[in-house]
């Protein structure tokens, strides 16, 4: 400890930079989608529930 305590601030900074820097091994971390483009509304929620219960109209399909 004596050695470390007697170091100057610059020396400590340099040593920490040399010894402390973690391994460089990048990894992509894509941002996840948590919010839908349209904010939730009572109408949308109601329509979703009706669709889930097969009570609402399904989106029209092309013939």
């Amino acid at each position: 400890m004596t050695n470390i305590a007697s170091l100057s601030g610059v020396e400590i900074e340099r040593l920490v930079q040399d010894m402390g820097a973690p391994v460089v091994a990048p990894l992509v971390m894509p941002k996840q989608v948590l919010e839908s483009a349209e904010p939730l509304s009572l109408r949308r929620a109601g329509r979703a529930i009706l669709t889930m219960l097969h009570l609402g109209s399904a989106p029209r399909q092309e013939m």
Binding site: I12, E13, A21, P26, L27, K31
Partner: protein, 602 residues
């Protein structure tokens, strides 16, 4: 890495039955309370306020019953290690992440030293690195971190094994800190153990977690049940006892219901790095805090995102050797709770996030309920005070041609029965845990059945006295968040916890005033309810005394926990290392301070 969606889809979710039982039983309890209260309320005539009160009782009782059922279910099974064990050698590389934010580096780094020593003793230490991830904004503390990092590396001969880096900004708070590391260095590791600054884990536990994750490649996150340790104040000791005595049982109940979508509590948990990187990049939510901005309670969301991507999130409550520290007084507890409250209420924005598992959504809902449930009780109390003004005038002659008066049937027994039922939901699980501990021999680790039972009763009494103040803080937090006030990210107080009566008064005078106004209002508007309100209002008016008294050091042998009777090896080593470092720090105070001050200016 391909997410294990196919395996997930084919795997049987064994939690359907426990989940169904818990939901049905708690709903039945709520419905029973609703019916009983309605019969009581309508005994003097039917009015809408009675229906409102019955609805509030339904929600409140359901919530209480949900907790009680979880505890009682936890008594029916024992925590067991998973059936599948790793047959070959452990090969996956793991990094232990220690995020710090203006913490005392001497204490925090002594934990790292003890854990490293414990890991090396397992013979598997070469597979593990440590990374101290500093977000500290205080320059003096940051300078001390650098100084003590060098000491740590020197002490542990850990160059190239223990790392330290400090971010230039705090983007994303703790979640952003971990994310930053994963993005820059995550590719070097298969697994990452995420800790808090006050976390401490046995090396053998860490190795066992890595072995389990290697044995089951579809596990994205493995959570341990951390045991609260080293509490010294009366408040801290009560919380520590409660956590050690009751939490394992409630965690067992939770584990029975987890299926593939278990919990993540933010620390003392291991993640599969590539799964975490691919699934858990947290976006900023639209708008400003408290509901917008970065996600505060990131752990619940990360667990939900891993499950969404097909990874298994599992709580292994059979694993020991996982420790943390807790707040030492009620005010610090309330400060931490303010942050959690904001984080949990923010999850309202994520209830309908695309693709989440239904149970993950339910977990968000539970987290929200944990904070808004006091509002239902308060609503019930206020509606009860107002009820006499809405009650219809008694009609003693409801039959047109009947000459004698018919008096309303007294239904007070139903109200008393309901009160006993609600009280039972609060205390029954605790008594059941105590009885189970005495019969199974678990109570021996708490000083024997007599002391364990006395501790349970003392904790019950203390929590009854402190609950009104805690609920008052919680309610204020909810209103602050709803009014758009951001609580920020305050540093955890891990120093001297003692609060004088003046300090306690400064922190809680508004609780006293609220209790006083409540008492006068009840006396004036509904004097018949005063007796029922006293158990809530009196502790509120005494809250400065309760807060100050409970922040004093505990001297009694009550609240004994297993770690008091038998200190875990890693705890003992951390205490020894810390003692040694602190002695050196005092002996070398001038040199150390000079170095720190000069360094702070760099």
């Amino acid at each position: 890495m391909t997410p294990p969606v196919a395996r997930a889809a084919g795997a049987r979710d064994s939690a359907i039955l426990p989940r169904g039982v818990a939901i049905v039983l708690s709903l039945l309890a709520g419905a029973g309370a609703f019916m009983l209260f309605l019969q009581f309320g309508w005994s003097d005539g039917r009015d809408v306020v009675d229906v409102l009160r019955a609805a509030l009782i339904l929600i409140s009782t359901w919530w209480l019953a949900w907790g009680a059922v979880q505890g009682l279910m936890g008594l029916t099974t024992r925590a067991e290690p998973p059936a599948r064990a790793l047959e070959g050698p452990l090969t996956e590389r793991c990094v232990v992440l220690v995020p710090v934010y203006n913490e005392d580096p001497v204490t925090t780094f002594s934990r790292v030293a003890a854990m490293d020593e414990s890991l090396q003793a397992t013979g598997q230490g070469h597979l593990f690195h440590f990374a101290i991830l500093s977000d500290s904004r205080n320059e003096t503390i940051a300078a001390r971190e650098r100084l003590w990092f060098l000491r740590l590396v020197q002490d542990r001969k850990a160059e190239g094994r223990i790392f330290y880096r400090r971010r230039t900004d705090n983007k994303g708070k703790k979640a952003g800190n971990v994310e930053d590391f994963i993005q820059k260095s995550g590719g070097a590791y298969d697994l990452a153990l995420i800790l808090d600054a006050d976390s401490l884990m046995e090396g053998a536990t860490i190795v066992e977690m890595a072995r389990r994750m290697q044995a089951e490649p579809d596990i994205g996150l493995l959570q341990t049940l951390p045991v609260v340790t080293r509490a010294e104040t009366r408040f801290g000791r009560a919380m520590q006892f409660s956590a050690a005595f009751h939490s394992p049982v409630f965690a067992r109940g939770l584990a029975m219901m987890q299926g593939r979508t278990g919990p993540f509590w933010g620390h003392n948990a291991m993640v599969r790095v590539r799964a975490f990187a691919e699934s858990c990049g947290l976006p900023e939510l639209r708008g400003k805090p408290p509901f917008g901005g970065h996600i505060m309670s990131h752990d619940y969301v990360e667990a939900a995102l891993l499950a969404r991507a097909g990874w298994r999130v599992r709580l292994d409550d059979d694993l020991g050797g996982s420790f943390e520290e807790g707040p030492e007084n009620l005010v610090d507890h309330a400060k931490r709770d303010r942050r959690w409250c904001q984080g949990n209420l923010q999850h309202a924005r994520l209830l309908h996030a695309p693709g989440l598992k239904p149970w993950s959504r339910f977990v968000f809902f539970q987290g929200i309920m944990a904070y808004i449930s006091p509002l239902f009780w308060i609503g019930f109390m206020l509606a009860s005070i107002a009820a006499p003004f809405f009650a219809p005038a008694p009609d003693y002659f409801p039959e047109p041609y009947w000459p004698f008066p018919i008096f309303p049937q007294a239904e007070a027994s139903k109200a008393i029965g309901l009160a006993i039922g609600v009280f039972g939901l609060l205390i029954l699980p605790k008594f059941a845990v105590a009885l189970h501990a005495a019969m199974s021999g678990r109570a021996r680790a708490f000083g024997g059945p007599v002391r364990a039972f006395a501790s349970m009763l003392a904790e019950l009494l203390f929590s009854s006295l402190s609950a009104p103040a805690l609920l008052a803080y919680q309610t204020r937090s909810v209103f602050q968040v709803l009014l758009g006030r951001d609580g920020g990210w305050p540093t955890n107080n891990r120093g001297d916890a003692r609060l004088s009566l003046g300090e306690a008064w400064a922190a809680s005078h508004w609780v006293v005033s609220t209790g006083l106004v409540g008492l006068v209002g009840t006396w004036y508007l509904a004097p018949g309810l005063v007796v029922w309100m006293l158990p809530v209002l009196v502790p509120m008016m005494l809250s400065p005394v309760i807060i100050s008294w409970s922040s004093r050091p505990a001297t009694s042998r009550i609240f004994t926990t297993p770690t008091d009777l038998e200190e875990a090896p890693v705890m003992r080593r951390q205490r020894e290392i810390l003692g040694q470092w602190e002695n050196e720090m005092i002996a070398m105070k001038d040199v150390s301070l000079t170095a720190e001050v000069s360094h702070a200016g760099v």
